[in-house]
């Protein structure tokens, strides 16, 4: 339970962090809230030579409206997001997802950027970011690029993040007033991570579902948008029957995970139940 030796560097600004990243090379690790990295280091699953602490970079902690987007700094904690009235008005599923993460201590230290970079298959964030069609801003000493959330998550603990890159911002298009969203979760009782987390965002006009976005985390090794569910409902006026029918299509196209707490079959079943619960909550 004791990490191996490492060099500790503290970055005061994004620029400094990027310089340090370039300087220390692939042996360095960014440290944000530390709630995923430090346990991994203590178990010696991860033994970086240097740790670059970005938790003190004030310019990476914010939630604000920027034109057609809501933008969240990478170092914003889950707790700050859970308390944001701006987000709760515009994209409630984001606030709901934040509030579901871990416990108060985890939410007060853990950051959205850290969670995305870590890409735990049972993390809460991916579902609502996928359903919200978020973009992730990545910076390196050679510049900045923006990746859509669907392209960012690539597999178990694997993302599009480059070795010398830093996540700086998460950008969410502000939905129109006819959009409602929610995030629901069945949690692992001990760790409280998601066994199944489902986010749904639906835009309606004249009683019909114009746009349906449904995404899952926890179900498969990569979080995913479930187009089968989305398409089953898009263009339809919602009813108990077609909600049920759409939910039945959940998790059909992915390989579902299984472990000693929840088998593959059981997770698949839960995905359907939680798809229905999310859709019902949004459409009621």
């Amino acid at each position: 339970m004791i990490p191996s030796e490492f060099e500790y560097c503290r970055a005061g600004s994004v620029e400094e962090a990027l310089d340090l990243l370039a300087q220390k090379g692939p042996d360095a690790k960014i440290l944000a809230g530390g709630h995923s990295l430090l346990p991994a280091m203590k178990l010696r699953l991860n033994s970086p030579g240097a740790v670059i602490d970005i938790s003190g970079i004030g310019e990476l902690s914010y939630i604000k409206e920027e034109g057609s987007h809501l933008v969240i700094g990478a170092c914003t904690t889950h707790g700050d997001i859970a308390k944001s009235t701006l987000l709760s008005e515009k994209i409630p599923m984001i606030v709901e997802a934040a509030a579901e993460i871990g416990d108060v201590q985890v939410r007060n230290k853990g950051t959205i950027g850290g969670s995305l970079a870590h890409a735990d298959p049972a993390a809460d964030w991916p579902a609502s970011l996928l359903a919200g069609e978020a973009e992730i801003v990545l910076a390196s000493s050679s510049g900045e690029r923006t990746v859509a959330a669907v392209d960012f998550f690539q597999g178990l603990f694997t993302t599009d993040l480059g070795e010398n890159e830093l996540i700086t911002e998460i950008r969410l298009p502000i939905p129109d007033a006819y959009t409602k969203s929610t995030y629901v979760k069945f949690e692992q009782p001990a760790s409280r991570f998601a066994i199944v987390g489902c986010a749904a965002s639906i835009t309606r006009s004249n009683g019909s579902c114009d746009k349906v976005r449904v995404a899952f985390t926890g179900v498969s090794s990569t979080p995913f948008r479930d187009q089968a569910v989305e398409q089953a409902l898009e263009g339809q006026a919602p009813s108990d029957d077609n909600i049920e029918a759409a939910a039945e299509k959940a998790a059909m196209s992915v390989e579902v995970m299984g472990d000693h707490f929840a088998s593959q079959e059981y997770r698949k079943h839960l995905a359907k139940v939680y798809a229905r619960r999310a859709l019902q909550a949004v459409l009621s």
Partner: protein
């Protein structure tokens, strides 16, 4: 021996309270009346150490810091089964900051071959986590670095960690000869002299209640209904907040051991034996302790290692286990496959109970579960076969009501099912088959509080989330440890003190002793200084078996009584009366004939001829004798628990909404502390029913969830409303007539929850923990 006859309260207030006359030794104190007429006993007295605990002033073993102290750590095997060819400690020994190293010659706390001839230079490895060697260093970090430098050459052997796999003829053997274990877990089944075939040892067919009864076959012939069922329980680890550990301070002519222990006396005795020291040169101190639950009775491998490291380095050694070590090596509640066959007549009278169980305490003994089925219900015909199955896993240990918790889970579900078959209410069935008067009162008082009458037919709740109600009851013996002694001292400055080596493991023993002494001396509990948990004082009972209150409060009272008589002798002439005419009340000593003749207790102490007076008393035999040997008292500690659950039939998620727990423990001494114990027992019972489960990896032989991130325990979010009823139950068996509560509190919960789940969904879950997935499988939804 001179005796006298005294009349003692007998029965249950509000039900059948009366008096009983018993012949007792002449020097026993007079009978106390029922609690209503006492000042401090039976009241909600605040814990003597509440403030020290909440402010952090209390020093636990892990807080002990001594000058020059080193930190010990142990190397454990990563392999579940191996022979050790060689161990090279040289690099570890040379590592800067390392002061001593030691290799185990034998390992304690597990079953041992009956003949030791086969033993090689190093003990064979029989479970992943078995300690091999240890180091002492300036810091824990340095010690861990040094562990990495130890080179062990293993010869790997095949292993088995699964209870059912281990019973197959082709399974790798854990032991190749017959084995015994003196300190087996206490669940039953570990009797000496039993044979081992393959990995299966037994059967054990008896307990301290005796052997089989009657004629099973005839019993089943007489039955109108026969129920046959198999229940499965999991391995549960102890999860004490404070891990196992010691600080050993080895001085030239005496060794002091600070130990997180339930048994100071036993740690002293074991240490003295291992290191061949006189017991008088070994002192064990346990001032505060963060939980034990049965696994902390022994010196342990860690204690032996700390002793060697202290001896070799000449410095104090602190050796505390970490959470992973705690899960994998320091004890657990064995699992069980528990078969029950019960015959009953139409009216509910039982005609026969047949019980058989297989369980694994890993490399240890004591996985039996049959005791509760033997004793709780009237059945003229009974037989039990309990088998210990060896696996390459950490040894079991006593765990809060060992054996009875597992056994109750099966027995009480069987009774629930039987009631349904016989078309009887579960409470009505028990009224017919259970002869215990106290449990009858508990059932009916509990049913009223819980509103049992609202219980509906199974699965009759409409909607996706279904409510269910269930109940279960339990038995635990009244165990007395007669080698329990207390000394009471009074000082000329007015101080009064009680001393005993008995330890307070968080249960509130200190407070209870202050109440008893205060009651006897007419003082207040806060006037009494309680010094316990130190083997410099007279030996006390171990804190296990729920025996402490029943064993140490009578001698505490008797010692106070003797001291009071000494004091009466000294002040009688001053008060111009006879010592036999004196009494105490409210801090005063006064004449019973002329209340104007009085003196304050503190003033009386100033009159003493010597600076201190002292009186010592040991546990007398129970008035009227014991039921078995000089340890098992008459009567039992009954309990009945009721559970209300809701089950989400789409996800299988079970939420416990309410528990009503009705308990008795003879004369209750401290109501608040009894409630604390019951709350804790119920919460652990919920963990057992719904969450806790040691998951082993069959591929590597490792525990997959040896941390709290994966091993689920109930937290505040999962704890329901717990309502507690305490029923006073006088039997006039000792000068306090008090018994314990720790273990009974934990026995019935899982069965009550399981019965409630059945009532909610109409399908029974035969295996705990009742996880959401198991519920859905039972409902055929996955």
């Amino acid at each position: 021996m001179d005796t006298k006859k005294i009349k003692l309260p007998h029965g249950i207030p509000g039900h059948n309270l009366g008096q009983i006359e018993r012949e007792v030794p002449a020097d026993e104190p007079p009978a106390w009346p029922v609690n209503d007429e006492l000042k401090h006993v039976g009241k909600r007295v605040k814990r003597t150490d509440a403030e020290a605990k909440v402010t952090g002033a209390a020093k636990f073993t892990s807080d002990i810091q001594l000058p020059g102290m080193l930190y010990g750590r142990m190397l454990r095997s990563d392999y579940p089964h191996a022979k050790i060819r060689s161990i090279d400690m040289s690099a570890a020994e040379k590592h800067p900051g390392v002061y001593a190293v030691h290799i185990f010659k034998n390992v304690v706390g597990m079953a041992q071959p009956a003949d030791d001839d086969a033993a090689g230079e190093y003990p064979d490895i029989k479970f992943a986590g078995q300690p091999i060697a240890g180091v002492a260093a300036l810091t824990t970090e340095i010690a861990e670095e040094a562990l990495d430098l130890i080179k062990v050459d293993y010869e790997y052997l095949p292993f088995v960690v699964d209870l059912e796999e281990a019973q197959k003829p082709e399974a790798p053997l854990v032991f190749t000869t017959n084995v015994e274990q003196d300190d087996a877990g206490g669940g039953g089944g570990g009797d000496t002299g039993l044979k081992t075939v393959g990995n299966v040892r037994g059967p054990s067919t008896s307990s301290f209640y005796g052997g089989p009864r009657g004629d099973l076959e005839k019993g089943f012939e007489e039955a109108d209904t026969i129920l046959e069922q198999t229940y499965r329980t999991q391995v549960q680890t102890h999860c004490s907040l404070e891990t196992h550990g010691v600080v050993v301070d080895w001085k030239p002519d005496n060794v002091t051991i600070y130990a997180s222990t339930q048994n100071t006396k036993n740690v002293r005795d074991e240490f003295a034996e291992v290191f061949d020291l006189p017991k008088s040169q070994v002192r064990v101190i346990q001032e505060y302790m963060g939980g034990g639950f049965g696994a902390k009775h022994s010196l342990g491998n860690f204690g032996v290692m700390a002793g060697y490291l202290a001896k070799k380095s000449g410095r104090p050694i602190k050796l505390m286990l970490d959470r992973r070590e705690e899960h994998i090596s320091s004890g657990n509640r064995p699992n069980s496959i528990h078969y029950l066959k019960i015959g009953a007549r139409k009216d509910g009278k039982l005609t026969a109970i047949q019980q058989r169980s297989y369980g694994t305490a890993g490399v240890g003994l004591g996985a039996g579960v049959g005791r509760i089925a033997q004793i709780m219900y009237e059945s003229p015909n009974f037989s039990t076969e309990q088998y210990d199955v060896f696996t390459h896993a950490g040894p079991g240990a006593a765990w809060r009501a060992p054996g009875n918790v597992q056994g109750c889970y099966g027995l009480e579900q069987a009774m629930d099912e039987l009631a349904e078959k016989l078309n009887l209410d579960p409470i009505a069935l028990r009224d017919v088959t259970d002869t215990s008067e106290i449990r009858k009162v508990e059932r009916h008082r509990g049913a009223e509080t819980f509103k049992w009458s609202r219980r509906k037919l199974p699965a009759s709740d409409p909607g996706l989330i279904k409510k269910g109600l269930g109940m279960a009851q339990s038995h635990w013996p009244r165990i007395v440890h007669i080698d329990s002694t207390a000394e009471v001292r009074a000082f000329r400055d007015g101080a009064v003190e009680i001393r005993s080596a008995v330890q307070d493991i968080g249960t509130g023993t200190k407070t209870v002793l202050s109440q008893v002494v205060a009651e006897e001396l007419g003082l207040k509990p806060e006037d009494i200084t309680v010094r316990i948990g130190d083997t410099l004082f007279p030996d006390g009972p171990p804190s296990g078996g729920s025996i402490v209150t029943g064993s140490i409060t009578p001698p505490a009272r008797n010692a106070a009584y003797k001291l009071k008589l000494q004091l009466f002798d000294q002040v009688a002439s001053k008060l111009e009366t006879d010592a036999s005419k004196l009494a105490v009340d409210d801090g005063q000593i006064m004449s019973t004939e002329d209340p104007s003749k009085k003196i304050a207790f503190k003033e009386a102490l100033k009159e003493m001829r010597t600076g201190q007076i002292s009186a010592t008393a040991s546990r007398s035999d129970d008035y009227g004798g014991f039921m078995v040997g000089n340890a098992i008292a008459y009567g039992g500690l009954g309990s009945v628990q009721f559970a209300e659950v809701s089950v989400d039939t789409e996800t299988g998620f079970v939420k416990v909404e309410k528990i009503v727990a009705v308990h008795s423990c003879g004369r209750p001494i401290n109501i608040t502390q009894i409630e604390n114990q019951i709350n804790g027992g119920v919460i652990q019972g919920l963990g057992y029913a719904l969450y806790e489960d040691r998951v082993m990896d069959n591929e590597t032989g490792h525990q997959m969830n040896s941390n709290f991130d994966q091993y689920k325990m109930p937290l505040s979010l999962e704890i329901p409303d717990i309502e507690i009823l305490i029923v006073e139950d006088y039997s006039g068996r000792s000068s306090t007539d008090a018994y314990g509560i720790g273990e009974p509190a934990n026995i019935a919960t899982a069965a009550a929850v399981a019965n409630a789940v059945y009532n909610a969904i109409g399908t029974r879950i035969f295996e705990i923990p009742i996880t959401p997935e198991k519920v859905l499988r039972a409902l055929n939804k996955v």
